[in-house]
Every structure is written in C-alpha cells, then in structure tokens.
C-alpha cells in the first residue's frame, strides 16, 4: 500500500509538480539569458524552477571562450610616442584604433552568440552598463578589453571585490579622470560617480562626502609607459578626511569599504538587478529582503540572483512580458533563436550601434537608456528594419534599393555591410524542423516560442503566406520587442 502511494506521488510529480512547464521555462530563459531555442525550452520545461535556476547558475563562466584578437596583448604606445607622431602617422594610428575597436565589439558579440552560459554575458553586460567606461574617451581598445575580462571574471562573483578592482581598472582610471586627481588639485569625477552610480545612489551622500572622497583617491593613477594601475604616494593627500561619518587618514580602499558598509549600496544594486530581470517597478519590500541576502553573503552575486530568479515576483503574471529587450538582446536573441550563422560578427556591432547600444561605448557614465526609453520612433523603426532585412529572403520583393539607400543616413555604419544581413543565412526549414506536428501546430509553436504574448496583429497570410512571411510577421510585431 505504502509503495503504491509512493509510486502514485512519483507519477503525479512527473506529470505535474516537478516540471515548471513551457511558459515558466520560456520566461526564465528569456529573462536570464537570450531568447531560447525550441530544444533549450524542451529541456528546461521538465525541470523545476529551482533545478532550472541552479542549472543556469552552475553553468556560468569566468572567461570568454572565443579567442580575442591578437593585438589585445600588444602594449599601447606610450603617450610621448603618440605625441611625437607626424600627422600622417597619427591618422594611421587613429584608423588602426578604430578598426581594433570594431574587432573588439565583434569578439564580444561572437562570445554572446556562441556561449553556453547566456547569463554570464548578460551579467557582464550588466556590469559594463553599471561600471561604465567608453572607447570614446578611453581610446586604447586594449584597456577596454582588459576591463571586459575583469567584468566577466567577477560577473557572478563578489560585488565588493569587483568594486575594488574597478577602482584600479586602467580604463576606468582614464574614463573618470582618476589619473588627474592629485593632492591639492582634486578632480571629483570618479568620487562623484562612484557614489551616485556605482554604490549609494543619489540622495545618500552629501557634496562634502564627494569632495572628501576625491581627496582619498588622489594618487590613484596609471604607469605612463605600461598603462598599468599605479599608486603615486607623492600625489596622494594623506590628510584627515570624513566620508559618510567615518574619519581618519582614509585612502581609496577605505572609502570603498565605507561605501560597501552602507545599506543603501546593496539596495541600489538590487534595484538595478530588479529592473534588469524582473520589472520596471521594483517592489520596496522585496528589494529590502533581497538586499539583506546580498549583504549577508558579503556581496556574493549568485545567492542574491538565485533568490531573485526564484522569487514569486519574478514569475508573477503582471511581470510577464513587462520588459523591453535591449538592442543586444534583440540581435543576439534573434540570431540564437533562429540559428543564424555565418554572419560577419561586425554586422552585429554595426546594428547594435544603429539601434542605440554601441557596446564598449555607452553614451555616458549612466549607461544606456533602459525600460520604455529603449523604444522611440527612431529606435523602433531601426529595430523593425533590421528584422525585416534578416527575414526578407528571396520571396520578399519590396523596394530593396530604397532600403539600401535608407542606410545612407548612417553611411558611417557601413551601409553596404548592413545590406548583407539578409544574405541567406537564415534557414527557415531548419527552424521549423525543431518544431513538431502538422504545419498549423508548428506555426502555433513558433508563435509561442518567439512571442511572450499573442501577437498584436494576427497573421493574415500576406506575402504568399509562406513560412518566412509568417516568421517575418511575428518578428515585426511589437510584441517581439518584449521579453
């Protein structure tokens, strides 16, 4: 009798309880990574939420798998050498630097396209958007590469360690002017953004705190020839300072520890994680609870993320399809979901820039616009045009010349290259082969796979009503922008 009951429970568990099902799996994968493929979904639908989250968290990486361009290890030319260049040499140098910047972006896109751990990429991007630096100011692509390596090493590691490492990161030292922050002549740029954007958030510190913290960071600079971090004691202000009530001969590391000891820091970071993964409206009590977990684990990132991805709020009905994909998520997600292969990865970089997310070059220290600000008239049309181009294929006539000309507004974006987006790399039959049943069943599955909500417009069978026309219709539907 007992054994029979056990068997019954086991059966019930297999049939209902243990697997979280298709909808939850889709939500979890789309939110914690990039848009899933049909086979990824089949696998995760059979796991419980807990199993699925633990599986995602145990698969994270600390290093990129795609080999970087060879030049990342080349030393940067020392400043004197650049200054001594002739005009022609300098032009060449600038061209080379721009080319390398593009190769760097292409490298990261390749990693995002191929990775076995989408969450690692999402978190690396999250920290890039948190501890912002930009090629536009930093110039040396080698330094931005090193920063990316740092961000991915700690992407799911320890926030406190990451913060201390970022303060010494050469790209950051250049980007926020630490290199020119000297005793008697403080430059407040790093100290201010550190408090406002990296740790506490506005309203949790005073102008006096910024001034005093800037003094504590004096002397944090770079070696002039190797561009490695270097502390110059003779440029450091060794006097007494008071930051957020703590006084003493504080140095930069002391200030970082003072900031980490403030409850506002954990709440600030958790609020950003909430907006990244859950919804545009953080729930205050949940933020407090999660911030408590963050602090209790001494700022380990995995436990707080685990709690977030298993929270009721994460799966709540009102938070489904409540977020707008970032341009990178749109591009990489589309490529992964449709198995689009063989495109020059620089095309993704160009497309991302056109849509307002130029990786390695955020617009300012606050990062890229988020939430609804991701969609305005220009960015929405750009998104749709790129989708139309990917799914145009041969059966799609339309005015191709006009499309090519439309790119001329962004000639710098490589108009001719963008036109290659439809160079026959999307294999619609392969995509449908992953689905099962008759044509109608497959189309219904495709719709559920691609869209987080039913489409705002039903497919009317236009453009011949074929599979490509069907997929294009879904990819151009406003709902495709949601996750």
């Amino acid at each position: 009798m007992k054994g029979l009951l056990c068997l019954l429970f086991l059966w019930a568990g297999l049939a209902h309880g243990s697997g979280m099902g298709y909808d939850d799996a889709r939500h979890l994968l789309a939110r914690s990574g990039f848009a899933p493929t049909a086979s990824e979904l089949d696998l995760f639908a059979q796991l419980s939420r807990q199993q699925a989250v633990d599986r995602i968290l145990s698969a994270t990486l600390t290093e990129a798998r795609v080999a970087p361009p060879a030049w990342v290890l080349e030393p940067l030319p020392p400043r004197q050498e650049v200054q001594a260049m002739t005009q022609e040499q300098r032009r060449k140098f600038v061209r080379e630097t721009l080319r390398k910047g593009f190769e760097l972006r292409a490298w990261w896109y390749q990693e995002m396209l191929q990775t076995s751990s989408p969450l690692t990429e999402r978190m690396t991007l999250f920290w890039h958007n948190h501890f912002v630096s930009s090629l536009e100011k930093v110039k040396g692509p080698q330094l931005m590469y090193r920063q990316n390596i740092l961000l991915r090493r700690y992407a799911l590691g320890n926030f406190g360690e990451l913060l201390h490492a970022v303060g010494r990161d050469p790209a950051m030292v250049v980007y926020l002017d630490s290199a020119s922050n000297r005793r008697g002549q403080p430059n407040e740029n790093f100290a201010r953004e550190l408090m406002e954007l990296f740790t506490l958030g506005v309203g949790h510190y005073t102008e006096q705190d910024v001034k005093e913290a800037a003094r504590a960071f004096t002397g944090w600079s770079l070696d002039r020839t190797t561009y490695a971090f270097r502390f110059y004691p003779f440029l450091h202000d060794g006097g007494e300072k008071t930051v957020l009530g703590r006084s003493g001969n504080l140095d930069g590391d002391d200030v970082l520890d003072v900031l980490l000891a403030q409850p506002a820091t954990a709440e600030f970071v958790v609020t950003k994680l909430w907006r990244e993964f859950v919804s545009p409206q953080p729930a205050a009590t949940e933020v407090k609870r999660l911030a408590g977990i963050f602090r209790a684990s001494h700022y380990e990132i995995k436990p707080v993320l685990r709690a977030l991805l298993l929270s009721d709020a994460f799966y709540a009905k009102e938070n489904r399809a409540a977020l707008i994909k970032s341009p990178v998520e749109l591009l990489v997600g589309t490529a992964r979901q449709f198995h689009i292969e063989g495109l020059d990865p620089r095309l993704y970089a160009l497309a991302g820039r056109q849509l307002g997310q130029d990786i390695f070059a955020p617009p300012n220290v606050k990062g890229w616009p988020g939430g609804e600000d991701r969609i305005n008239s220009t960015s929405l049309l750009g998104r749709k045009q790129i989708m139309a181009r990917i799914f145009r294929a041969q059966e799609m006539p339309r005015n191709q010349q006009a499309d090519a000309a439309a790119e001329n507004g962004g000639a710098a974006l490589g108009a001719s290259r963008m036109a290659q987006l439809n160079s026959g790399v999307f294999d619609v039959q392969r995509f449908f082969a992953e689905l099962s049943g008759n044509e109608n069943a497959r189309r219904a599955q495709a719709e559920k796979l691609l869209l987080a909500l039913p489409p705002s417009q039903p497919f009317s069978g236009g453009d011949g009503g074929g599979r490509i026309a069907f997929v294009r219709h879904l990819a151009l539907d406003p709902v495709y922008q949601l996750k």
Partner: protein, 386 residues
C-alpha cells in the same frame, strides 16, 4: 483652465464654443506657429568661459590657466564678453537678436548630471520629483493642434527630455528622409494594450504614422550647414520645420561639455560648432520666412565650478549663462552676473530661476498660462520685442 472648468460645470461649454470670441476668452488658442528650438548643451557647458567676466580680477584669480585672456574676449560691454569661438554669434548680437541670460540656476543645486538635468527638464524644485517633462505638461494642458505632425521632434539624442511623459506626441529622428522611408514599418493599428511596455510601443507606432504624414521630404536650403553631427542635426531641424504641417518644438542636443579634463580645446570646438550652427539655422529660417516666428534657447544641467581643477578642466558647478535668440528677441544682457567673490561651497549663486525661461516661452512666446504647468508663479523675462 479654472474658468473652463467653471463653465463646464454650468453646462455652458457647448454654447461658449459656438461663439468664437467667447471661446477664445475661455481658452486662448496657443500660438504654436511660434516655434521653440531648444539646444541642450549636454554635460554642463562652462558658462564662465562662455560669457567671460573679463573685467573681474577674481575671474583670473580662479582661473589662472583656464581664463580667456582679456584681449581674446569678444567684448560685449565694459564688463563681459563672449568666448572667441562664438564669433559667428556676433552679427546676431550686433543686430540685437541675441539675449544672454546670466546667473540661471535654482536653489539647493544638485551637482549630479542626471538628477540636475531631470530637475531642468521636468521643471521641478531641487527636492521635488516630477514624472513628466515641462513641455509634455504644457502640451497636456494646452494641446498642440491635431493637424501638427508632432508636438515635438528630438534630434541628436535618444532621450525625450522635456518632451518625455505620458501623452506627449514626440518623435525622435536623425534624418528626415530615412525616417520617411522607414515609416512604412510602422502600423497605426489603433490597438491598445494593458501591458504598459506594449502600450508604449503601440503609441510610438501611431506617432510615427502621424508624423510621417505631416513631414515634408528634404527641402533644399541654400544655406550651408557646418559639417559634423551638430550641423547635420540643425539641418534636419530646418527640414522638419519646413514640413507641410507644423511642430511646436524641436530639441537638438550638442554633446561633450563635461570638461573635467583638457577643457580649452574641447570647449573651443563645441562653442564654434554651436555658434556656426545657430548662425546657419537663422539663415535657413530666413529662407522660409520663419526667423521671426523662431525662438532658440539653450539649456544645460548646470554650469561649472569657477575654480579650475588640476587637469586643465572644471568640475560640476551651478549658475550658468544661457542664450535666447530669434527674430523677435530683444537682444542684450538679462539677469545678474553671479558674484565671483561670494561663492557657496565654491560655486556661484543663481539670480534667475531657470523656470523663468520656461515661463517666457509659455506665456510670452505662446501666449498661454504657465502657472499650472510650472506649479507656481515664475515671472517671464521681457526679452521679446513688442
């Protein structure tokens, strides 16, 4: 507004609107044929090296390396002058079409880029958080005619700034022709959604369709715009204004004013782009007989610290100088130059609340009541020709 509500309560609205002159008295029609062009000097332009108090020894004491030398200043009077890179604005000054408002800021200044621009763009007090931009609020209270292509057009920036907010019909574009061609991807399905993110996207689609219907294609101006993103943005702005239906506002952003480091070259380049771009825009507006119905106004999140820093730059500051120009603008200096001997926390004290600039636009330029929009009485400046 109160009057209209009162009439509405009495059930008199239909009667009133049947009588043209009375309807006018109840709700004066906004004159949105008067165009506002906002220029955002993003990053916080250094006003002290823009309008230079060259006669004040404190200026050279605070700026031993960064100060603009007296002989280089484009002198406007015996006290102040313009940065030499603003040469292209001098004809407008001499023509008395360029007003410069000094000491613009607000009480309890916030020195964060992001918070301070939010304060500026939402027209809030320092400690007040308002969701919508000041122009979005204005257009909600005083709607732009439905026949207009859009309430406002944003060029050179991805964020809506003062046009951001529920209901505002604002579009972002970089190139008119490209926009017109791509607009076929937008669907005006009039679909609604309870999902806020989806509702936002659907609204943007509708705005695109309407704007595309109202904007003309490229118009050829004889005026040559300066090369570069800002010149291109102003050319796009001129195209938008020349469209067959109107827009009430164009906002153009010029980036790069956060000069913590190596300020002289950067500011020199940016101010030159600004001045030459605006001079070209004036000429284009004259070509289409719109200069007399155009008002250009600059704004930024803050000015910069009077005391230069150690890296040939300046840190975040407070009070700032801003430009207002147009065919109907009464040129000259307005407001009070901030004192360089009486600083607070190293920063200058403001004399003109920035919301007075907005009141100038709403009341004097558009002929509307600004009190509701600005949540208080901020007297407009008398800088228009009567």
């Amino acid at each position: 507004m109160l009057r209209r509500d009162f009439l509405g309560a009495l059930g008199l609205v239909p009667l009133v609107s049947a009588l043209p002159n009375l309807a006018f008295a109840a709700a004066p029609a906004a004159d949105y044929r008067n165009l506002l062009v906002l220029i955002e000097l993003k990053g916080g332009n250094d006003g002290l090296n823009t309008l230079v108090p060259y006669a004040d020894p404190n200026y050279y004491r605070l700026r031993p390396r960064l100060g603009i030398r007296r002989e280089e200043v484009l002198q406007l009077d015996e006290r102040v002058g313009l940065h030499p890179a603003l040469q292209a604005l001098m004809p407008l000054w001499q023509n008395r079409e360029l007003a410069i408002v000094q000491g613009v800021g607000y009480a309890q200044p916030n020195l964060s880029h992001f918070r301070s621009i939010e304060i500026w763009e939402s027209a809030s007090a320092s400690s007040e958080y308002l969701a919508d931009g000041w122009l979005a609020r204005n257009f909600k209270a005083h709607p732009v005619p439905a026949a207009f292509a859009a309430d406002g057009v944003v060029i050179g920036s991805q964020d809506m700034g003062p046009l951001g907010g529920t209901g505002s019909r604002a579009i972002v574009l970089n190139n008119t022709q490209q926009f017109m061609r791509q607009a076929r991807f937008a669907d005006d399905a009039a679909a609604k959604s309870k999902n806020a993110a989806l509702a936002h996207i659907l609204k943007v689609e509708g705005d695109i369709v309407q704007a595309a219907a109202g904007l003309a294609g490229e118009r050829s101006f004889r005026t040559e715009f300066p090369q570069g993103p800002f010149g291109n943005a102003l050319k796009t702005a001129a195209n938008v204004v020349s469209g067959k239906s109107g827009v009430a506002v164009v906002r153009v952003t010029l980036n790069g004013f956060d000069t913590h480091n190596g300020q002289p070259n950067t500011q020199q380049r940016l101010l030159k782009e600004l001045a030459e771009g605006l001079a070209a825009f004036k000429s284009a507006m004259q070509e289409i007989a719109r200069w007399d119905s155009t008002m250009i106004m600059t704004y930024a999140e803050f000015g910069r610290r009077p005391q230069e820093n150690g890296s040939l730059g300046t840190d975040h500051g407070t009070a700032n100088a801003h430009f207002v120009l147009g065919g109907k603008v009464q040129g000259g200096l307005y407001g009070q130059a901030p004192s360089l001997s009486q600083l607070e926390g190293g920063n200058m004290l403001h004399s003109v609340d920035f919301r007075r600039l907005y009141a100038t636009v709403i009341e004097k330029w558009w002929g509307l009541d600004a009190r509701g929009v600005l949540n208080g009485k901020f007297p407009g400046l008398d800088l228009l020709r009567v």
